[in-house]
Subunit: 107 residues, 2 copies
Protein backbone atom coordinates (compact mmCIF):
# COMPACT_ATOMS: atom_id res chain seq x y z
CA UNK A 1 0.00 0.00 0.00
CA UNK A 2 1.19 3.46 -0.81
CA UNK A 3 1.47 5.29 2.48
CA UNK A 4 -1.28 7.88 2.42
CA UNK A 5 -0.34 8.04 6.05
CA UNK A 6 -3.68 6.64 7.15
CA UNK A 7 -4.38 9.12 9.86
CA UNK A 8 -1.61 9.15 12.43
CA UNK A 9 -3.90 11.06 14.75
CA UNK A 10 -6.58 8.45 14.82
CA UNK A 11 -3.96 5.76 15.28
CA UNK A 12 -2.66 7.20 18.54
CA UNK A 13 -6.14 7.97 19.83
CA UNK A 14 -6.52 4.43 21.15
CA UNK A 15 -5.03 3.56 24.59
CA UNK A 16 -4.14 0.01 23.59
CA UNK A 17 -2.34 1.23 20.50
CA UNK A 18 -0.42 3.75 22.58
CA UNK A 19 0.62 0.93 24.88
CA UNK A 20 1.80 -1.00 21.85
CA UNK A 21 3.90 1.96 20.77
CA UNK A 22 5.31 2.15 24.29
CA UNK A 23 6.27 -1.50 24.13
CA UNK A 24 7.93 -1.16 20.76
CA UNK A 25 9.73 1.95 21.93
CA UNK A 26 11.24 -0.15 24.68
CA UNK A 27 12.11 -3.14 22.53
CA UNK A 28 12.12 -3.40 18.77
CA UNK A 29 11.43 -6.51 16.75
CA UNK A 30 8.67 -8.04 18.81
CA UNK A 31 6.14 -10.48 17.41
CA UNK A 32 2.40 -10.39 17.80
CA UNK A 33 2.49 -12.88 20.67
CA UNK A 34 5.33 -11.05 22.38
CA UNK A 35 3.27 -7.89 22.35
CA UNK A 36 0.16 -9.69 23.55
CA UNK A 37 1.85 -11.04 26.65
CA UNK A 38 3.63 -7.79 27.40
CA UNK A 39 0.38 -5.88 27.16
CA UNK A 40 -1.13 -8.24 29.69
CA UNK A 41 1.78 -8.26 32.11
CA UNK A 42 2.91 -4.67 32.02
CA UNK A 43 -0.24 -2.77 31.07
CA UNK A 44 -3.04 -4.93 32.45
CA UNK A 45 -4.56 -5.08 29.00
CA UNK A 46 -5.94 -8.40 27.85
CA UNK A 47 -7.38 -8.00 24.38
CA UNK A 48 -7.51 -11.06 22.18
CA UNK A 49 -4.74 -11.81 19.74
CA UNK A 50 -6.90 -10.68 16.83
CA UNK A 51 -7.66 -7.38 18.48
CA UNK A 52 -3.95 -6.70 18.90
CA UNK A 53 -3.35 -7.78 15.33
CA UNK A 54 -5.91 -5.28 14.10
CA UNK A 55 -4.38 -2.54 16.20
CA UNK A 56 -0.97 -3.27 14.73
CA UNK A 57 -2.47 -3.06 11.26
CA UNK A 58 -3.81 0.41 12.04
CA UNK A 59 -0.42 1.48 13.34
CA UNK A 60 1.28 0.11 10.26
CA UNK A 61 -1.22 1.95 8.08
CA UNK A 62 -0.32 5.14 9.86
CA UNK A 63 3.34 4.50 9.20
CA UNK A 64 4.10 4.27 12.91
CA UNK A 65 5.08 0.62 12.73
CA UNK A 66 7.06 -1.20 10.07
CA UNK A 67 7.14 -4.99 9.81
CA UNK A 68 9.54 -7.66 8.61
CA UNK A 69 8.51 -11.22 7.93
CA UNK A 70 10.88 -14.03 8.73
CA UNK A 71 9.57 -17.53 8.36
CA UNK A 72 6.44 -17.79 10.37
CA UNK A 73 7.35 -14.78 12.47
CA UNK A 74 6.50 -11.17 11.82
CA UNK A 75 8.61 -8.66 13.64
CA UNK A 76 7.38 -5.18 14.43
CA UNK A 77 9.44 -2.03 14.62
CA UNK A 78 8.52 1.43 15.83
CA UNK A 79 8.85 4.41 13.51
CA UNK A 80 8.18 7.71 15.19
CA UNK A 81 8.83 9.87 12.16
CA UNK A 82 5.16 10.41 11.30
CA UNK A 83 4.76 12.05 14.68
CA UNK A 84 6.94 14.88 13.49
CA UNK A 85 3.96 16.21 11.54
CA UNK A 86 2.18 16.93 14.82
CA UNK A 87 5.04 18.91 16.32
CA UNK A 88 5.39 20.86 13.10
CA UNK A 89 1.70 21.59 12.77
CA UNK A 90 1.28 23.18 16.21
CA UNK A 91 4.66 24.35 17.48
CA UNK A 92 5.05 23.94 21.23
CA UNK A 93 6.70 26.78 23.16
CA UNK A 94 9.83 25.93 25.16
CA UNK A 95 9.19 24.40 28.55
CA UNK A 96 8.59 26.80 31.43
CA UNK A 97 9.32 24.96 34.70
CA UNK A 98 7.22 27.08 37.05
CA UNK A 99 4.09 26.69 35.01
CA UNK A 100 1.27 24.82 36.69
CA UNK A 101 0.03 23.06 33.62
CA UNK A 102 -1.43 19.59 33.11
CA UNK A 103 0.91 16.66 32.93
CA UNK A 104 0.08 13.39 31.31
CA UNK A 105 -1.57 10.60 33.20
CA UNK A 106 0.84 7.80 32.50
CA UNK A 107 2.13 5.49 35.24
Amino acid sequence: MVPGVGDVFRAIAEPTRRALLDELAERDGQTLFDLCSRLAVKHDLTPTRQAVSQHLAVLEDAGLVSTRREGRYKFHRLDTRPLRAIAERWPVPPDDPDDPEPREDRP
Copy 2:
Protein backbone atom coordinates in the same frame (compact mmCIF):
# COMPACT_ATOMS: atom_id res chain seq x y z
CA MET B 1 -13.23 20.31 36.52
CA VAL B 2 -9.82 19.23 37.63
CA PRO B 3 -7.72 18.86 34.53
CA GLY B 4 -7.16 15.14 34.24
CA VAL B 5 -6.08 16.22 30.80
CA GLY B 6 -9.09 14.54 29.26
CA ASP B 7 -7.27 12.65 26.58
CA VAL B 8 -5.31 14.97 24.36
CA PHE B 9 -4.91 12.12 21.92
CA ARG B 10 -8.59 11.62 21.40
CA ALA B 11 -9.07 15.36 21.09
CA ILE B 12 -6.81 15.69 18.08
CA ALA B 13 -8.15 12.54 16.44
CA GLU B 14 -11.02 14.48 14.89
CA PRO B 15 -10.45 16.39 11.61
CA THR B 16 -12.82 19.21 12.53
CA ARG B 17 -11.09 19.69 15.87
CA ARG B 18 -7.71 19.77 14.15
CA ALA B 19 -9.06 22.46 11.83
CA LEU B 20 -10.21 24.41 14.88
CA LEU B 21 -6.72 24.19 16.33
CA ASP B 22 -5.35 25.39 13.01
CA GLU B 23 -7.68 28.38 13.08
CA LEU B 24 -6.77 29.27 16.64
CA ALA B 25 -3.09 28.85 15.84
CA GLU B 26 -3.55 31.50 13.18
CA ARG B 27 -5.61 33.88 15.25
CA ASP B 28 -6.21 33.84 18.98
CA GLY B 29 -9.31 35.07 20.77
CA GLN B 30 -11.97 33.97 18.34
CA THR B 31 -15.57 33.38 19.33
CA LEU B 32 -17.70 30.37 18.52
CA PHE B 33 -19.31 32.15 15.58
CA ASP B 34 -15.98 33.37 14.28
CA LEU B 35 -14.71 29.82 14.22
CA CYS B 36 -17.88 28.52 12.58
CA SER B 37 -17.60 30.88 9.64
CA ARG B 38 -13.89 30.35 9.25
CA LEU B 39 -14.36 26.60 9.20
CA ALA B 40 -16.85 27.02 6.41
CA VAL B 41 -14.86 29.47 4.33
CA LYS B 42 -11.35 28.13 4.73
CA HIS B 43 -11.87 24.45 5.40
CA ASP B 44 -15.11 23.63 3.61
CA LEU B 45 -16.51 22.35 6.87
CA THR B 46 -20.10 23.20 7.70
CA PRO B 47 -21.01 21.61 10.99
CA THR B 48 -23.75 23.23 13.03
CA ARG B 49 -22.93 25.72 15.72
CA GLN B 50 -23.65 23.15 18.43
CA ALA B 51 -21.33 20.64 16.85
CA VAL B 52 -18.51 23.18 16.89
CA SER B 53 -19.37 24.10 20.45
CA GLN B 54 -19.09 20.47 21.50
CA HIS B 55 -15.77 20.14 19.71
CA LEU B 56 -14.46 23.18 21.52
CA ALA B 57 -15.57 21.66 24.82
CA VAL B 58 -13.56 18.54 24.05
CA LEU B 59 -10.51 20.64 23.19
CA GLU B 60 -10.91 22.63 26.38
CA ASP B 61 -11.21 19.41 28.34
CA ALA B 62 -7.95 18.27 26.85
CA GLY B 63 -6.32 21.53 27.87
CA LEU B 64 -5.64 22.47 24.28
CA VAL B 65 -7.95 25.47 24.38
CA SER B 66 -8.48 27.98 27.17
CA THR B 67 -11.44 30.33 27.25
CA ARG B 68 -12.21 33.77 28.60
CA ARG B 69 -15.74 35.10 29.01
CA GLU B 70 -16.43 38.73 28.35
CA GLY B 71 -20.05 39.80 28.43
CA ARG B 72 -21.93 37.61 26.04
CA TYR B 73 -18.77 36.64 24.20
CA LYS B 74 -16.48 33.72 24.90
CA PHE B 75 -13.04 33.96 23.44
CA HIS B 76 -10.95 30.91 22.69
CA ARG B 77 -7.22 30.62 22.88
CA LEU B 78 -4.90 27.86 21.72
CA ASP B 79 -2.60 26.18 24.21
CA THR B 80 -0.21 23.73 22.63
CA ARG B 81 1.56 22.74 25.83
CA PRO B 82 -0.34 19.47 26.30
CA LEU B 83 1.09 18.35 22.98
CA ARG B 84 4.50 18.26 24.56
CA ALA B 85 3.52 15.00 26.23
CA ILE B 86 3.38 13.34 22.82
CA ALA B 87 6.84 14.47 21.77
CA GLU B 88 8.24 13.38 25.11
CA ARG B 89 6.54 10.01 25.06
CA TRP B 90 7.93 8.89 21.71
CA PRO B 91 11.02 10.93 20.87
CA VAL B 92 11.36 11.67 17.16
CA PRO B 93 14.83 11.33 15.60
CA PRO B 94 16.26 14.43 13.91
CA ASP B 95 15.06 15.03 10.38
CA ASP B 96 16.95 13.24 7.61
CA PRO B 97 16.28 15.10 4.34
CA ASP B 98 16.95 12.24 1.89
CA ASP B 99 14.54 9.93 3.57
CA PRO B 100 11.51 8.94 1.52
CA GLU B 101 9.07 8.84 4.33
CA PRO B 102 5.40 9.80 4.54
CA ARG B 103 4.46 13.42 4.74
CA GLU B 104 1.20 14.67 6.07
CA ASP B 105 -1.82 15.15 3.85
CA ARG B 106 -2.63 18.73 4.63
CA PRO B 107 -3.25 21.28 1.84
